[in-house]
């Protein structure tokens, strides 16, 4: 038996490395959204209400009572979840009818809309707020470059990993920033509703995401969706094979490489990781991971008449090389939560960030334990909302009193 000279990578190292590789982009996305929210909202009062599908049932005004706001937000969220469910079922149907090209094209188109229009709007906000003397030629050229290369990164499966990951994070950030413009009660109730929907859609046998994943596995195909895949950790000492050995969940007779084309609509479609299979290693077949797919439908701006359909895939799973995959929808909703917390104070941001990362850790542990696609939203969102409420109504008073009386902090 070959001896190891030195233990290069213990299990703890590789496990920690993998967790870090998924927590880092989530944290970066959240940080960018918090920065955007605090930079752009401090300069202008965000009283502009966005008319979108999420506010179609009720648009919040400052003069309503809390109960009215809550009921209105509940109606909004129900409408939103209903639209998302319908769109997810449409996606399942299209995937069942093998319209993969259409789905891929739709994804690329959505990525272009998000990067081009929403990215353009956010940069225009920044330019206006800081009076940056950029001219229109340079601006449009830069935006065009950014959007086109983003579509290529999302579209093509073999682009530089770093570029693809970076663009997915940027898409998540833009959509999350857009979501933070919804009214407050609607945002919070919608987050909880999406967490519950996620739980149902992935775990129930009739859930659309579960259907989609099972369909993809039975056909050995990729689900066209936006999924963030972390770089796999290679164990240098024993080569790639031992790294895969830990990840084998299911042996497949044939090797099927699943690519994930990203599918995005006006809103980025988060794509939960697909299960990818086998690679060059002949002796090991790749593990399969199922991801849930969530379809979010988001409304577009009023001036843009096209209905925004987002294929949001949420969920967490493992890729073919054993890397962890996380759907872009998870990025988006985590960042929306933290962005909303940032609109109140930074104390809530810290509390919610810790809650979300803890929830993500719990989800990863459950992933390793159950070895199937899992919803990544419920634990984190519910913990995040709980911590936000506790911090805002309980902790803040406590800390402010202590600080102002110079007792602590």
């Amino acid at each position: 038996m070959a001896q190891r000279q030195r233990p290069r990578c213990s299990l703890l190292d590789s496990l920690g490395e993998e967790i870090v590789r998924i927590v880092t982009p989530v944290s970066i996305c959240m940080l960018l959204v918090v920065i955007l929210v605090s930079v752009l909202n401090s300069s202008s009062s965000s009283s502009t209400s966005v008319t979108t599908i999420a506010t179609i049932a009720y648009s919040e005004t400052d003069s309503d009572s809390s109960w009215d706001k809550f009921v209105g937000a509940l109606l909004n969220s129900l409408v939103f979840v209903a639209v998302v469910t319908v769109v997810t079922f449409v996606l399942v149907l299209l995937f069942y009818l093998r319209c993969t090209k259409f789905l891929k094209f739709y994804m690329g188109f959505s990525a272009f809309i998000v990067l081009g229009f929403m990215g353009g709007q956010v940069s225009l906000f920044l330019i206006q707020d800081y009076s940056i003397p950029i001219d229109c030629i340079t601006f449009f050229l830069a935006l065009f470059n950014f959007a086109v290369v983003g579509v290529l990164a999302v579209f093509m499966s073999k682009m530089a990993i770093f570029v693809t990951q970076g663009y997915l994070v940027v898409i998540g950030m833009l959509v999350a920033y857009w979501f933070t413009m919804l009214p407050e009660w609607t945002t919070w109730v919608m987050l909880v509703a999406m967490a519950l929907y996620d739980l149902a859609a992935v775990l129930l046998p009739v859930g659309p995401l579960r259907l989609l994943v099972e369909l993809a596995i039975s056909r050995d195909e990729d689900i066209p969706a936006l999924v963030y895949e972390a770089r796999p950790v290679t164990d240098h000492d024993s080569g790639v094979s031992s790294g895969n050995q830990r990840r084998v969940w299911r042996e497949r007779s044939g090797s099927a490489a699943l690519n994930e084309p990203e599918n995005s609509t006006d809103e980025p479609n988060p794509n939960p990781g697909r299960v990818s299979v086998s690679n060059v290693e002949t002796e090991l077949s790749a593990p399969l991971i199922e991801h849930r797919m969530n379809m979010d439908s988001q409304e577009t701006r009023g001036e843009d008449d096209a209905p925004g359909e987002n294929l949001a895939l949420e969920g967490i799973g493992l890729g073919s090389t054993g890397a962890i995959k996380l759907g872009l929808g998870d990025f988006i909703f985590y960042s929306v939560l933290v962005g909303r917390a940032a609109m109140y104070d930074f104390m809530t941001v810290y509390a919610c960030y810790l809650a979300i990362i803890a929830g993500l850790g719990v989800t990863l542990v459950l992933l390793a334990f159950y070895r199937r696609a899992l919803p990544a939203l419920p634990v984190s969102i519910l913990l995040g909302v709980l911590f936000y409420v506790l911090t805002r109504f309980v902790l803040e008073i406590f800390i402010v009193q202590l600080s102002s009386n110079l007792l602590m902090f």
Partner: protein, 138 residues
């Protein structure tokens, strides 16, 4: 673990290009910056050529991504001659385009109204955004 290994596994066990320099005159094994996770050499030529040609559609950023993706090809002078042509072309195009664009943008920003007159206000982005109502959410 001692079982027969395919040649690709053998290659992957050897450290990719970061340690390849220690092996004299071998050069990098993988043309892309992703190493064993990236493209094979045959695919890499197709991709490099495609990126290079698409970059002519006013896409210097695509050229930059091309140079980043095939960084090992740029770094080691003797490796992958077919790919190197396109990547070098991308690098030259990127530099030229960036110099042009930066000089124009800086002239516009620094010169301001004193250099351009009233047309500066017609060209600057925040005025145009207001005029066309680009940032109104409604």
């Amino acid at each position: 673990m001692e079982a027969s290994q395919s040649p690709t596994v053998d290659r992957q066990i050897r450290n990719p290009e970061s340690n390849a320099n220690s092996i004299a005159s071998v050069g990098p094994l993988w043309p892309t910056v992703d190493g064993p996770l990236g493209l094979s050499e045959a695919d890499a030529v197709t991709y490099a050529r495609r990126f290079y040609k698409f970059g002519f559609a006013l896409l210097p950023w695509l050229w930059a991504v091309n140079c980043f993706y095939f960084w090992p090809v740029l770094r080691h002078r003797r490796s992958f001659p077919q790919i190197r042509r396109y990547v070098l072309g991308s690098a030259i195009g990127l530099t030229a385009f960036t110099i042009l664009l930066c000089s124009w943008a800086l002239t516009f920003a620094i010169g301001g109204e004193s250099l351009f007159g009233t047309s500066w206000n017609q060209l600057v982005m925040y005025n145009l955004a207001d005029k066309w109502g680009l940032t109104g959410w409604d």
